[in-house]
């Protein structure tokens, strides 16, 4: 069974991918289709969805929630993808080095990783905002940093196990350089784990960005982010709950799509799990 055929048969992967495609399209194309998200009409605040000219209703200043949501999706995607790229690249590199070289290098890296891991995300984000100012950059750096150490810990553990396997011992005995062993022998073997992890950390990035925006760290007004929209809308929950629930539902769908993809990828790429599943299905 080749990979593509198995992917097509994976319902989680297919449904997650369809949802993700729709979301990405909304984030990429939506802002051009739905007009200026800052346009306000002070006479038309708190409109419910499906009101003429306001597909998803309007907020307190009469701004189109649909136009703001698609920009919020774009912001969320930019942050989530950025932090995941940072975390995967840097975290994998750190984990590979620490797990393979071991000794003092591993101890030092593990010390730093554990130190950072001990800080709650919100505190790291506040410290980042205090040092470089508010906005999306401190959010990306804070979430990226925390996710980096998370991935580094997992990769290190995987590499510690793999580095004693015969193929690595053989490569070492064959005189291959450390760099070659890391990139040609170990990296391909941890990639399935990294891919599954990265899908999980995209979801974490979406939630983290929304959470930090909810508490006022993150995108600065008038730039909308989904968490900020949920926060602003909660003042009007009994008047027009859609101002909160629409961005809330979008966050849910985004996280769901990424989680489905992650689960699908895990089923597809994890040989141990796949073997177990195939064995179970052949019975």
């Amino acid at each position: 069974m080749n990979l593509l055929r198995r992917a097509r048969k994976n319902k989680q992967l297919v449904s997650g991918s369809i949802l993700a495609t729709v979301i990405v399209l909304l984030g990429v194309v939506g802002p051009w289709l739905l007009g200026d998200y800052t346009d306000q009409d002070l006479l038309l605040g708190h409109l419910p969805p499906m009101t003429s000219g306001y597909l998803l209703g309007s907020d307190a200043l009469g701004r189109d929630i649909a136009a703001r949501v698609v920009v919020g999706i774009r912001i969320s995607l930019i942050v989530a993808i950025s932090v995941t790229v940072i975390a995967v690249v840097v975290g994998t590199a750190i984990g590979l080095v620490a797990g393979y070289i071991k000794g003092a290098v591993d101890s030092m890296i593990s010390l730093v990783v554990d130190f950072i891991w001990g800080f709650p995300l919100i505190l790291v984000a506040v410290l980042a905002a205090a040092s470089i100012g508010s906005g999306l950059l401190p959010v990306i750096l804070a979430v990226g940093l925390v996710n980096t150490v998370a991935i580094a810990r997992v990769v290190r553990g995987e590499v510690l196990g793999l580095s004693e396997k015969e193929f690595v011992v053989a490569a070492r005995a064959g005189g291959y350089s450390t760099m070659r062993i890391l990139t040609r022998h170990l990296l391909p073997n941890i990639m399935p784990v990294v891919l599954v992890l990265s899908s999980y950390y995209v979801a974490v990035g979406i939630i983290a960005e929304a959470s930090l925006s909810f508490v006022g760290l993150g995108a600065q007004p008038p730039l909308p982010s989904l968490g900020q929209m949920v926060s602003e809308g909660r003042n009007y929950m009994r008047l027009n709950h859609w101002e909160s629930t629409v961005p809330g539902i979008v966050i849910f769908v985004m996280v769901l799509s990424v989680s489905l993809i992650g689960d699908g990828l895990r089923d597809l790429l994890d040989p141990r799990l796949r073997t177990a599943v195939e064995r179970a299905s052949s019975k």
């Binding site: 306000q40 002070l42 200043l61 508010s134 600065q220 003042n235 009994r238 008047l239």
Partner: protein, 583 residues
């Protein structure tokens, strides 16, 4: 406010009473007596009285709402229980001298030497009586014999005079707002305030929390003006009916009954002994919706400032009473003159002002629970000058023509430029729901005339730091909210060239405003005061040291079992000695 407004809010009988009072069929005290006799609390009665007297315009600010704040006058007060209030701001330290804001707890812990009467006149509070000399140069306050503070420290004339002198000389607000005052001295049990010249405004600051009477010995022992002082945080020593117990920023303030309280000298406080309540606790709940829900769920007994989105629902709840009246407050935008390329010329400032749809913002953000301001004062102030309304009206075409006349031309992206400078600046705003919405609305309206205001949302402390820098260290533009029972006294310090950079956040030097301030400081008669006040407002509306935006209505909500909790139009917060719980 009009008689029709009174009829709408309180019914035909009360409107008839008001009409009779206005036609002088009976006096103020008789009017108040008739209102309380039919079941109105002092707070509601004072609001009706203010509606009768503060503005004669029938078409004026009839958009205030209030519910009938009735009390069961036939019930005997019950002793005990803790009043739980929801408060919208973080708590300020309980030190009248060093705080830059005062909270409702000040009304429980402290007394002032005089306070506001129900119709905005001056009545004694700590003082047994006071008098003003015929030439207006001497104020004499009778200090009652044998009074002590919560700690047992003596609160005689010497202690009171010493404290008042320290406030005048050193406090955040004292120096500039008391220029016509010479100083305080003591004769027997009397505190004497000597004036440099007769001044109509002499008593006003004395009614505020910034002049609250703390025990001066305790204050000094705790550290005085030293930033490390523990006064107001660990301890506070006043003469009010409750003692300072807990002060936890971000969480709550707790005060407990002072059993030795001898009763108030304020005529409308009916309880002449210790308070009925065991304690009062103010919880910091910054989300308006959450405050309302907690009140409805019975987790709070009263609240200040519900979200206006919740107001109609709260009004329709038969278990609750909503009290609402005009507030002595305002939202204003500073324009830092140390950025002369943006705000140095009057025509540009006027252009920006004409770009703002103030009524739209009042309707959208305050749900109509406020008034637009074209000058510095709220409309309901007794000295409000209606001629300011000829300035700063919303007119986008005029805004654009003013800006064009000032030399601004649109660049390729539509943003205005002048002398190679793009009209784009940073605009700092505190992270608070209403202020953020106002700022987003303002920024968008500026954008429509080609001006880019880049919002930076920061917490309250950082916002103040950004507003109060020297020169270009201060933000080019910032929104701020002021709250003060006498607008002229506070706006003088925002507009005077003597107070740059703090609190003249705009760093504006306007000789015509300085001249109006001097005129006010020399005003010894009501006529002179009105003339000075009028000049001040007109010069402000014309030269625009700040962009006036709007003011909101003060709104209070309480469960009906809370009795005599009666904030009224002249006070920022209720007094607590009469309050009891009918549970």
């Amino acid at each position: 406010m009009s008689n029709s407004w009174i009829e709408d809010q309180y019914g035909a009988d009360v409107a008839q009473l008001a009409a009779d009072y206005k036609s002088k069929k009976f006096g103020r005290r008789a009017f108040l007596g008739k209102l309380t006799a039919v079941g109105f609390s002092v707070g509601a009665a004072a609001t009706i009285l203010a509606a009768c007297g503060s503005n004669s315009s029938d078409s004026g600010t009839a958009d205030t709402t209030a519910s009938g704040d009735t009390v069961a006058t036939d019930s005997a007060p019950k002793v005990g229980g803790m009043l739980r209030e929801g408060y919208p701001r973080d708590v300020s330290k309980h030190d009248p001298i060093t705080t830059n804001w005062y909270d409702p707890a000040f009304s429980a812990i402290y007394e002032t030497i005089v306070t506001d009467g129900l119709d905005g006149d001056t009545v004694p509070q700590f003082a047994a009586a006071y008098e003003v000399s015929a030439d207006g140069l001497t104020y004499t306050f009778d200090i009652p014999e044998g009074r002590v503070s919560h700690s047992g420290g003596v609160m005689g004339a010497n202690q009171v005079a010493e404290l008042l002198q320290i406030i005048k000389d050193t406090s955040f607000i004292g120096g500039v707002s008391t220029v016509p005052m010479e100083g305080y001295s003591v004769e027997g049990n009397k505190v004497i305030l000597k004036m440099k010249n007769a001044w109509l405004g002499a008593l006003n600051p004395h009614k505020t929390g910034y002049w609250a009477l703390a025990n001066v010995d305790t204050w000094k022992a705790a550290g005085g003006s030293d930033p490390k002082s523990t006064y107001g945080t660990d301890t506070a020593d006043g003469t009010g009916p409750f003692t300072h117990e807990e002060w936890v920023p971000g969480s709550h303030t707790l005060v407990k009954r002072w059993d030795a309280y001898p009763g108030s000298n304020t005529p409308y406080v009916t309880n002449t002994g210790a308070a009925y309540l065991d304690a009062v606790r103010w919880s910091v709940i910054t989300e308006g919706g959450q405050r309302a829900t907690m009140l409805e769920n019975g987790e709070l007994d009263t609240l200040l400032g519900p979200s206006y989105a919740d107001l109609e629902r709260l009004k329709s709840n038969s278990d609750l009473t909503v009290i609402q009246h005009p507030e002595w407050s305002g939202y204003q935008l500073s324009m830092n003159r140390d950025y002369p390329e943006f705000f140095g010329d009057k025509l540009t400032r006027q252009g920006l002002s004409h770009a703002l749809n103030r009524q739209g913002m009042v309707d959208a953000i305050l749900f109509g629970n406020g008034d637009v301001t074209y000058g510095p004062f709220p409309k309901t102030d007794r000295q409000y000058e209606p001629k300011v309304e000829s300035y700063n009206q919303f007119d986008v075409a005029l805004a654009k023509s003013n800006l064009a006349e000032a030399g601004w031309v649109a660049g390729s992206d539509g943003v205005l430029e002048r002398d190679g400078v793009r009209f784009e600046f940073e605009y700092v705003v505190e992270d608070e729901t209403t202020q953020k919405l106002v700022s987003e609305a303002v920024a968008q309206q500026f954008k429509e005339v080609g001006v880019i205001a880049k919002l930076r949302v920061v917490d309250r402390a950082v916002a103040f730091e950004n507003q109060s820098g020297v020169g270009r260290e201060a933000a080019p533009m910032a929104l701020f909210f002021w709250l003060w029972p006498v607008p002229l006294d506070i706006l003088v310090i925002f507009g005077s060239s003597e107070t740059i950079p703090v609190p003249n956040f705009s760093h504006a030097v306007e000789p015509s405003i300085d001249a109006a301030i001097t005129q006010w400081r020399l005003a010894g008669t009501p006529e002179a005061g009105i003339a000075a006040s009028s000049n001040f407002q007109l010069e402000w509306a014309d030269t625009l040291p700040y962009l006036p935006l709007m003011n909101q209505y003060a709104t209070f909500v309480h469960h009906n079992y809370v009795k005599n909790w009666a904030p009224f139009v002249w006070n920022l917060y209720p007094l607590y000695n009469d309050v009891w719980l009918d549970q």
